[in-house]
């Protein structure tokens, strides 16, 4: 039997106009996002460029770009990371409570409250932190520095106004708590009944069921929600600008009066009075923030993908 040398031509599938429109639309939307992202990156690079090439003594502070941005970056990271460390476990606990432990009425009310809190503008949280929380922390932070002063975070001496990194972290944590809780709760709610029953039928207690079926299933959502929260905390501007009394550089002391600012808050505070190279310098710090956010997101994606075949999505 002679073998045909012709390759079979790919079969033509009739295209429906609806499919074509939708496919064009979604491709367009995808491209648009990429273009916007590239546009932002290009803008930041172009505008930051003069400060990257300028001599060190011309940069605000007079010690060069790196030493200008580093304390801001440090302040950004330490506030956001600590806020996440506080908020994420709390959010998971609240979401579990609402989904699995609270009586139905209470669960509904709590869920509603959380959604409401997620919609409160950040400036409100800032005002609350500044007016209410900061003065309240003066006594506790004094206690912390006296009793836990051996930890670098509570080295003291404590600030007299309470407008410390400690308060900024709490405000950020409270601010990102609702959104993380809301996302995680939604994920828990979608745990298949099938898997909950599988563990219960094996003789799991409720907590064992949560560990066996609920948490592993919600894992990628927990990571995703945390990154969403971290992103918010990294970029939070007004709340930090209002709360934090800025005067210091890099320090792990969270309760003192000399705190580093954050990139976003610093831009907001300095921008109105900046000209020329100062503006370029602020934009360079913005470029750093942009890069950090991208890295955080990619890291989150990597964490989620690492155990993809175990995700339950197949």
């Amino acid at each position: 039997m002679a073998l045909s040398t012709e390759r079979p031509s790919p079969r033509r599938v009739p295209q429906r106009p609806g499919d074509r429109i939708f496919s064009g639309f979604s491709t367009g939307a995808g491209v648009l996002i990429l273009v916007a992202l590239a546009g932002v990156a290009a803008f930041l690079l172009v505008e930051a460029w003069p400060s990257l090439t300028a001599p060190a003594e011309d940069i605000s502070g007079g010690e060069g770009l790196v030493l200008y941005v580093w304390p801001l970056l440090f302040g950004t990271l330490i506030s956001a990371v600590f806020a996440l460390v506080i908020a994420a476990p709390l959010a998971v606990a609240i979401a579990l409570f609402i989904t699995y432990y609270a009586p139905r009425r209470l669960a509904q009310a709590l869920g509603y409250l959380i959604d409401l809190l997620a919609a409160v503008p950040s400036i409100i949280y800032g005002l609350w932190g500044f007016q209410q929380l900061a003065p309240l922390t003066v006594d506790p932070t004094t206690w912390l520095s006296e009793n836990l002063g051996f930890l670098p975070f509570f080295a003291g001496p404590p600030s007299a106004t309470g407008r410390t990194m400690f308060v900024a972290i709490i405000v950020l944590a409270v601010m990102i708590l609702p959104i993380i809780t809301a996302v995680v709760r939604e994920a828990f709610r979608q745990t298949p009944r099938l898997h909950e029953e599988a563990s219960l039928a094996l003789g799991a207690t409720r907590w064992e069921m949560i560990r066996m079926a609920v948490l592993p299933f919600g894992r990628s959502s927990i990571v995703g929600a945390s990154m969403l929260g971290l992103g918010r905390a990294l970029g939070e501007t007004m709340a930090v600008a209002i709360v934090l009394s800025v005067s210091g550089g890099v320090t792990f002391n969270l309760i003192g009066s000399g705190n580093p600012s954050t990139i976003a808050a610093n831009i907001a505070l300095q921008f109105p009075e900046s000209t020329g190279l100062q503006v370029n310098t602020l934009i360079a710090s913005g470029l750093v923030l942009f890069a950090i956010t991208l890295v955080v997101n990619m890291a989150a994606r990597a964490v989620i993908n690492r155990r993809k075949e175990f995700s339950g999505a197949n």
Binding site: R104, L194, L202, A204, N314
Partner: protein, 259 residues
Amino acid sequence: MAKRIEVKDLDIYYDKFLAVQGVSMTIQPRSVTALIGPSGCGKSTFLRTLNRMHELVPGARVDGKVFMDDQDLYANGVDPVKVRSQIGMVFQRPNPFPTMSIYDNVAAGLKLNSKRLKRSELDDIVERSLRAANLWEEVKDRLPKPGSGLSGGQQQRLCIARAIAVQPDVLLMDEPCSALDPISTQAIEDLMLELKERYTIVIVTHNMQQAARVSDVTGFFNLRGVGQPGELVEIDETTKIFSTPSKKATEDYISGRFG
């Protein structure tokens, strides 16, 4: 080890809705008992009262008694978690934990209640359970792979392995083959005949041929009437039920004249 189950005058409620009424039966150890009947008559509901899964539905409760050998499963102070660990259950749709490997799926029940087993003991039990579920040869080279990568029939046998790994006294199966192809169904039916040497097996099935093939005793459930609770019409030797049932409703159902 296999235990006898005795149900006495059991009424089963969802909140105020009486779903099943007045069930009494004795389920013998080391045998397969099949429960058949039209859908909606309360077979699953009844099955889930045997391992106290029923009460997980908010508002659900029972009235009556269930004994396993001499233990009253619904007595005050009996921990439903303990009951469920003694009575294994296999569900209609295969439900291995998607986030766990094949190995961890089988070992899942062994890690509960803070039991601590040595790795080698765990390995032994996992292998023994997978062999008992006729799955070992197919998965022994990919134990660390996710259980969700198996075929439907393999997943169901994985679930059976998971259930018997904790050495339950009784095994409940709710239409375990209804999502499977004929070959996989055959494999599970063969497995049931092997497992009944060691366990008390209760299977709900909508497939009457299956009941005839695998069971020693068959119980027929039916609705008493439209809008009325389900009831156990009769329960007897499978051969008798399928040849000379004593109730007209049973005869109508098994001969396909029904309603």
